[in-house]
Symmetry: C2
């Protein structure tokens, strides 16, 4: 397959780069003029014709310039994947922003989504890190008036769940505190199944709370990937391929339903090893709605402990040269932060 001569290669790269910028079909004459090539347009035409035959280019109609095919984009991406590096100044800016921000996971996520969207001019999506082995760390019971009790559950890794319980009858704060203390001693470091396997408690209140804790831990563990953060929805509306609102609508609708979105991210990255970065071009034949779009996705986190997915969606014509290194850099950054927050425990 890879029988491209050097000249064809550079030509192809040039065409794609130009088309990404200009959003227009690229003609032979234009190419010569624009890049001061030492070749005539006729030669270029021959090469273009060859590239078209090989499936890297196509023409919207008989007498228009060439436009990259999905295959063309794939080649383009595979070629520039390694060499694309984020300028150090940008790296510093981003890392600075992260260190400025709070230490709250949801703040990281929002920030990362914002950075990705802004840098890539696309739509960014991130799932919060999912703790794969959810382990109990601490529970706190705070009485409010009457039978309402605020339960705060802290997991190893820093995830905090809060929930309001309604007990059968009012219980004094003292007793609640004792219960919490007992359970803290009992459950420290245990995973869901271990907790569920514990023998029944003699104290009824203990037992009730215990049941609720199991429920809560289980719910946490089940949510395949936590919350989804997204940003930059309006970025793509500026792109010429979306002047037809219908196209834009179809793509954006995916982001309306969180469940679909989650599904998309999960499917695209099942088994993807952290650090590996995937570029999905034109929906890869699977996602009909995204036929005109590309996604750059990566997993981040610590495998086996806590991982999440992040990505950028944009038109197939998006600036891979910017998006790919940005996604990679942010993924690495988040991995570090997750790592710190785990090993810090």
């Amino acid at each position: 397959m890879n029988e491209l001569t050097d000249r064809q290669k550079t030509l192809l790269m040039l065409i794609i780069r130009d088309h990404i910028e200009s959003a227009q079909p690229i003609g032979s004459k234009r190419l010569v003029d624009h890049y001061h090539l030492k070749l005539s347009s006729a030669t270029i035409r021959n090469e273009m014709s060859a590239l078209t035959e090989m499936g890297y280019l196509c023409q919207p109609h008989t007498s228009a310039g060439r436009v990259p095919t999905e295959e063309g984009y794939r080649y383009f991406v595979s070629q520039m994947m390694d060499q694309a590096v984020l300028p150090e100044t940008v790296q510093r800016t981003i890392s600075h922003q992260f260190h400025q921000s709070g230490s709250d996971v949801s703040q990281w996520m929002t920030l990362a989504a914002s950075i990705l969207a802004h840098q890539s001019q696309g739509i960014s999506v991130i799932t919060a890190p999912h703790i794969e082995q959810m382990r109990f760390k601490h529970v706190e019971l705070i009485s409010t008036q009457g039978r309402q009790v605020l339960m705060i559950l802290v997991m190893v890794g820093g995830e905090v769940n809060q929930q309001i319980l309604t007990l059968a009858e009012p219980v004094a704060q003292d007793r609640l505190s004792q219960t919490a203390a007992r359970l803290n001693g009992l459950l420290a470091g245990l995973a869901e199944d271990a907790i569920a396997a514990l023998p029944a408690r003699s104290d009824a209140l203990d037992q009730d709370i215990l049941t609720l804790i199991v429920q809560d831990v289980r719910r946490s563990a089940k949510s395949v990937s936590g919350n989804i953060y997204t940003d930059g929805l309006t970025n793509v509306l500026a792109e010429p391929e979306f002047t037809e609102t219908e196209e834009a609508r179809r793509a954006l609708k995916i982001f309306g339903e969180p469940s679909t979105l989650k599904d998309l991210l999960v499917r695209t990255t099942t088994g993807g090893n952290v650090g590996g970065l995937q570029v999905l071009i034109g929906g890869e034949g699977v996602w009909e709605e995204l036929r005109q779009c590309s996604m750059v996705v990566a997993r981040y986190g610590v495998p086996g402990m806590a991982t999440g997915t992040l990505g950028v969606l944009g038109p197939m014509r998006m600036s891979y040269a910017k998006t790919i290194p940005t996604v990679r850099y942010v993924a690495d950054l988040l991995s570090d932060m997750v790592n710190d927050s785990i090993s810090g425990e």
Copy 2:
């Protein structure tokens, strides 16, 4: 101003209602046919001409049907405001959904945003309830490995802040618990200024934590309105007035920048009393980007204690008959929930 005859009134209402449905200029003939009026098209034309002169209607061009002006919409809304009621079945569905959902504020918000967007086919926006007098309820300090400490701060009303502190030196969980207990006794029910006015503590750790608590409470109180929840961004893309992407983009861009959005909501509802519902038509001359849009906004919550804002943005042609009662109903519902959660303390 209000010199409309009964016939003009019904005619105006009919025209606007029809235009909201059809999105097209309404002609005299069409009106007669469609609604089986006992009048001829010529009579209608005279009346329409009068309504046009009074500023309630206008024509896109000399020989097209009539389209409501902003003034026309205002009249329409003022007339139907009172009588618009949400069908009981819908009310039940909504209230059911709320009672099904968790007791977490962020869950309420997401749900409310989703319901509003879905019912009104517009873009919904809600600010989380802002506790106006932030009062301390409980603090919890949980040691993690090393000098990192997870501080969980609970406010009266159930708001929970979590934060990771880095102490100067490692401190055992025992000592942290004692500190927390001391502070809990000391600070219960106090507001920010009262905490700040306390005399310095003899214990250095106590003092440090105290300072951080003040900071945190202050930060909570300062965030004019908590998080912003929004939904239904893609709904409006279906509307014909947004086939020109440029228009859509301008309106949607507002929702890209949370700060702008917050500003918008705050400005539109300053001093607005809870329960009062405002309809802003065509940006009211202030919001250039929203010239083609309308907003239905309301405040909810308990004045002086905790309030928030919610609203729906849609094209000027949006279905006020559905949106207004929905916004009102959801606002009331949220007010009740906020009320319960406060008085329950």
